[in-house]
Symmetry: C2
């Protein structure tokens, strides 16, 4: 396979990102009182987030204090242990600043400054890489947003907090080559109801690259699901080697920019590197059990099911609904996504016949009619949950109907969070529906906007489950 | 092609729905003081909506007034002109009630009651149809939600208003065989920023069927876009005949439930009729220029672009963005949807070179960098809008970036609502982004959540434009 061209990099096979993600002390180089400066926003973030490590603002023009915190003209003046340096100074002086970081003994660095290889300044970037390697400093960036971690409250994002929602603590880690894609997805995570473990926007990847990040996240105990936006991979051999192990440990959801020829050229222009053939990537992704998303919506949808639901190698889905037409659309969606409608066991049929009103046809999709309430939904789930012919459940709860209210939401929470099989909920609608969707999602239920979204997500879960068990 | 089996129906080829949609007087049969009754909710809707026609509540147990309005034991007691009867009484007495409606001279009826062919009571439904035909009454239903029209304020939906958002006045008409699909989509329309012309949930279609509705909506001056959810078509010949004309007048977006074999069986169980082969439908849809949506999201996305944007037969799209990675994803999305990236003319290139900072590469996708503000977006759109090499524009505005604010939203509104070419906006994010998305949508800009959604919608618009001009 053709991966991006090799570049000089440090000897250590996989960079340790712990000093960056869990820095007990951080130097913010380029910190400023001027709110228009990136270094100001970053310092403000560290103050606002409640970061409880030591903060050392560094600015060549420092007069003793920046934003009320003791500041320094150079990192060399600090004379204390510094885990991480966040560098937000003009590109031209970054290599020199890195040299000082090396002398000061920093253990990791994030370079948010742009103006390197992405604008043709490859020599400047090589200088930066060389200096970082000389001191064995894992560097994230340059030309990136850096990192965010709601647990350690590290937050190098130089985007105002009012413009971008910060996610709650959770199990999904998201790494993005592109800062734009990274920040917009980060901003969408809250709306999807799941929480964040680590966010890493790694830009030009002068030292820390995809293989390093994958290696770090697969071993990270807080990360349950790894999500990646990539345009290319720096070290093919190491990436493949890591991928093989990573997907045996936890799910990796990936979206690649540049999957068409034109898109690949756009990626080339964007990252100034060869993006490699799509077919080569696709082959690797499939071979090593990545869950490939074709758009950003599926990326989030897949992350949501992996974050909350158990694995299942079986593809027989039981659809229950309080709206007949949605049952028809769900049936179509199953068969369009390599899933099949389950056939109920005799025991389930008997139980359902007892608990459903005579108007309800006892077969899947189970249309429980528009007046179905929490008791009817609960009876259906109780009858089906242990049915050996059912591998997973899709419950369609339309909150427009008279019987559907917060008790139905509570029923969904009860089953979806306790059952040993995967369960997803589909709820489509406006403000009343959204309020209930949020209730369910805050309790860990994956709720989807359409039967198609739910079916694609179940299909991704089942494909990965089979890969992990060696069935494919 | 195989359509659903023929049933007895009235002689008039296409039913006139005007007496239902624009009723100046309405009898609500089954009206009740009891809030648990469907007839109560419907009467309440007419009162709440500000309907300014005459309302006649009818209930066999009437004691003179229902909810403060003079009521009658039978429609025959009213002795005034009645345009429309809304019938919400037990199925068994519906044929008799219809007989009385005929004698009372009603011009149209909506039967919301269920309990007919969908539960095997075909004789009861045949009785209803026969009676309606005897008096030439166009009947919508039975087993449906009926109609809603924000202009005439007719609203037979027996769903509480707090559970389902009522859309604003607009140009999209939506007809649905399924009440569940109908109500959930109706509930989602507000969130998509466009408004509603007519909503018709037609259920078992005992008299008024798909051909009637298509015929009515194609001639309806308030309807700009027709959207349909169907599981089958009652009268194949008439439907095809109408479809031929309809798509030459205005766009018809359609989603069919039961496109897989299993889904078709589920549809059969749902509507108690043969749904017909998917291939036959697909062939008709394609032949007559329908825009076929494969899920509910695309149905809404397509409606949005048709409602607001001019037609275009050219597929050369100019993508401009303030985030490089999203430009890459958008490029992929174009080529995955039969679109191509436009190549700028020399004139546009020259203009852009003057207006963009040196860091910006003058080519499409135009990555204007993270600090692009309203002036930069405006300069780009001004340079591109009249470029003869550009057929349509996709502007990606990421509101997470420092330069993007409400002025950028205003710029999008200015161009997307005045330009002679189609323009769509992509904005992905959380609360700050959503506020700006709503601003743009309320002004008539189609805003999408992902480059894929935008590309599929542009592709639907272009395919339809070509069909209409006879290019395919």
């Amino acid at each position: 396979m053709i991966f991006m061209k090799k570049e000089k990099r440090m000897k250590i096979k996989y960079a340790n990102l712990e000093p960056i993600m869990y820095a007990k002390s951080v130097a913010i180089i380029g910190a400023s009182e001027n709110p228009e400066k990136v270094g100001h926003v970053i310092l403000q973030n560290y103050i606002d987030s409640g970061y409880d490590g030591k903060i050392f603002p560094i600015n060549i023009n420092s007069t003793g204090k920046i934003m009320g915190i003791k500041s320094f003209k150079s990192i060399l003046d600090v004379k204390q242990k510094i885990d991480c340096a966040v560098i937000a100074v003009p590109a031209a002086i970054v290599p020199q600043v890195m040299e000082e970081c090396g002398k000061a003994g920093v253990k990791g660095a994030v370079v948010v400054s742009g103006g390197f290889a992405e604008v043709g300044e490859t020599k400047l970037q090589d200088d930066l890489t060389r200096t970082a390697n000389k001191y064995s400093i894992p560097v994230i960036g340059p030309n990136c947003l850096g990192v965010m971690d709601p647990r350690s409250r590290v937050d190098t994002l130089f985007l105002p907090t009012f413009k971008i929602d910060r996610p709650k603590i959770g199990g999904v880690s998201f790494a993005s080559q592109s800062g734009a894609v990274g920040s917009s997805i980060l901003d969408m995570i809250n709306n999807e109801g799941f929480g964040l473990a680590r966010f890493i926007s790694y830009g030009n990847a002068c030292v820390v690259d995809e293989a390093d990040i994958l290696n770090y996240l697969m071993n990270d105990k807080d990360t349950k699901v790894i999500v990646f936006y990539i345009e290319g991979v720096k070290r093919g051999k190491e990436f493949v080697e890591t991928a093989k192990i990573a997907t045996k440990i936890k799910p990796v959801v990936i979206i690649k920019g540049g999957v068409t020829e034109a898109g690949s050229l756009a990626a080339h222009s964007h990252t100034a590197s060869l993006a490699g053939s799509h077919e080569a990537y696709e082959a690797v992704f499939r071979q090593f059990g990545f869950s490939v998303a074709t758009d950003i919506r599926d990326l989030l949808n897949f992350a949501k099911i992996f974050d909350t639901q158990p694995l299942s190698t079986g593809n027989r889905i039981a659809v229950i609904t309080n709206g007949g037409g949605t049952g028809v659309l769900a049936t179509d969606a199953l068969y369009q996504n390599n899933l099949v409608m389950a056939k109920l066991s005799k025991e389930s049929e008997t139980a359902l016949k007892k608990s459903m009103p005579p108007i309800v046809n006892i077969r899947l999709p189970l249309d429980m009619a528009g007046d179905a309430d929490d008791r009817r939904f609960s009876a259906a789930l109780e009858a089906i949950e242990n049915d050996p012919n059912v591998d997973a459940i899709m419950a369609i709860t339309l909150f427009q109907t008279p019987g559907a209210d917060s008790r139905v939401a509570a029923t969904m929470i009860n089953y979806a969070t306790n059952m040993k099989k995967p369960m997803v909920v589909v709820s489509m609608g406006g403000s009343y529906t959204k309020a209930h969707k949020e209730m369910m999602e805050s309790a860990g239920v994956p709720v989807y906007d359409s039967p198609g979204d739910a079916a694609r997500s179940l299909s991704a879960l089942i494909s990965y489950s089979k890969y992990k068990k060696g069935i494919i």
